[in-house]
Symmetry: C2
Subunit: 240 residues, 2 copies
């Protein structure tokens, strides 16, 4: 049996404010919940509509009715499992590899994709401006899969962070030099900007080198989406 | 004044069947409508809630009330403009450049991103299996921006298409050779597969060379999303 206070808590976790207050977040779907369990994230409570979803039912696993799940889900069609997890502890940003910095990335799908890409390419540290969408937003988590457990995601004043670093700072710009011909160091910082406005003026002042992905001459596409641009730039960093 | 038959037609265009029957499709939002107009796609009818959205009101532009727009929109919060366009004429697939082939890409956002990427990298021809999501699906168009007007998107029996081609056929696989060290020709075919299952067995039999994006050793991300994989592979093709 699921109590009203439990349902109320999950509904609260839709909001960033309560996620931070409680140090908890939730994801939906058997596959995503299982991925977070496999990645050793600590479950606070797991809810399931069918007992055969899990091979072993722990003390903090609760069967929930489909209509209760619908009340707390953020999906139009909830799919049977919802897991509440403890936020993992953050570690200090270590400067022994490339660090990705996000300047106000707002779209949850984009942040989720960038987290998954960082994980794929073995980037350990993602530093986000405070205006960047919350990485524990359920829509972000839907796109990251288990990657969130393997990445150190920090929210901070990135101006201060960039002022303090001794690493070379690269930024993605429409009018930068071609990334294909730019020499990239073994360790550095890559900044990606907001979906509509790119990297802000204040942050731009702290960029040592502007890089760009060359466009085919005849085309007129305005820009690449920030997540696909990240894919290409991280691939270039790792390829060499 | 907007007639009931007009509203009914737009609602029908939510379905692929009627889009193909009428040779029409629709997009929403001032920016996207303007992009299609700028890309010289022929408008059938344009609907707007505020007359000052357009500098010139043509005969086939109609003012619509917000509540009427809500009835025909597929967005939760319609944003003032909806444009119905004629589908552009398709041209024959010309084999003077790389051709991208999609084997059952199902997610509208992924197809939209791939279309935008092809446009960015100057790929003219996208050949889709019949099970691939319709490129005139409104959610696809939301992600393509104006790119749909500059690309030749064909739906066909890709097995037959691949059997008939004389171009070298490359396919994206998890266990392929590193794309970074694979020699890529000036002209070829790149196949990308389904989100969950990758490239199907039948299609795999027609692939001459399997390529992959190398993953950082220590990581365990299952796979890259097909749209981000496309970004990296097309970048590799164009970089050389």
């Amino acid at each position: 049996m699921v109590g009203k206070s439990q349902l109320k808590r999950i509904r609260r976790l839709h909001q960033k404010k309560y996620r931070n207050e409680l140090g908890l977040f939730f994801v939906e779907g058997k596959k995503t919940v299982q991925e977070l369990l496999d990645a050793n994230l600590k479950p606070f409570e797991i809810y399931y509509t069918e007992p055969n979803f899990f091979s072993k039912i722990e003390d903090n696993y609760f069967q929930i009715t489909p209509s209760e799940l619908k009340q707390v889900s953020q999906l139009k069609n909830p799919n049977g499992v919802l897991g509440v997890f403890y936020m993992p502890d953050l570690t200090e940003v270590v400067f022994d590899d490339w660090v990705v910095v996000l300047d106000e990335v707002r779209d949850p799908g984009n942040l989720g994709t960038i987290i998954r890409l960082c994980d794929w390419f073995g980037i350990k540290n993602l530093v986000c401006s405070k205006q960047t969408v919350d990485c524990y937003n359920p829509k972000v988590l839907q796109a990251t899969m288990g990657s969130i457990a393997r990445l150190n995601v920090t929210y901070t004043d990135i101006l201060k962070f960039l002022e303090d670093t001794s690493l070379p700072v690269y930024g993605a710009f429409m009018d930068g030099d071609s990334v294909y011909t730019t020499k990239l160091p073994v360790v550095g910082i890559l900044i990606l900007g907001n979906e509509a406005n790119g990297i802000s003026k204040e942050v731009e002042n702290l960029v040592a080198k502007k890089i760009a992905i060359p466009q085919s001459k005849s085309q007129t596409t305005e820009s690449l989406n920030v997540a696909t641009a990240s894919a290409i730039l991280l691939s270039e960093i790792r390829r060499r």
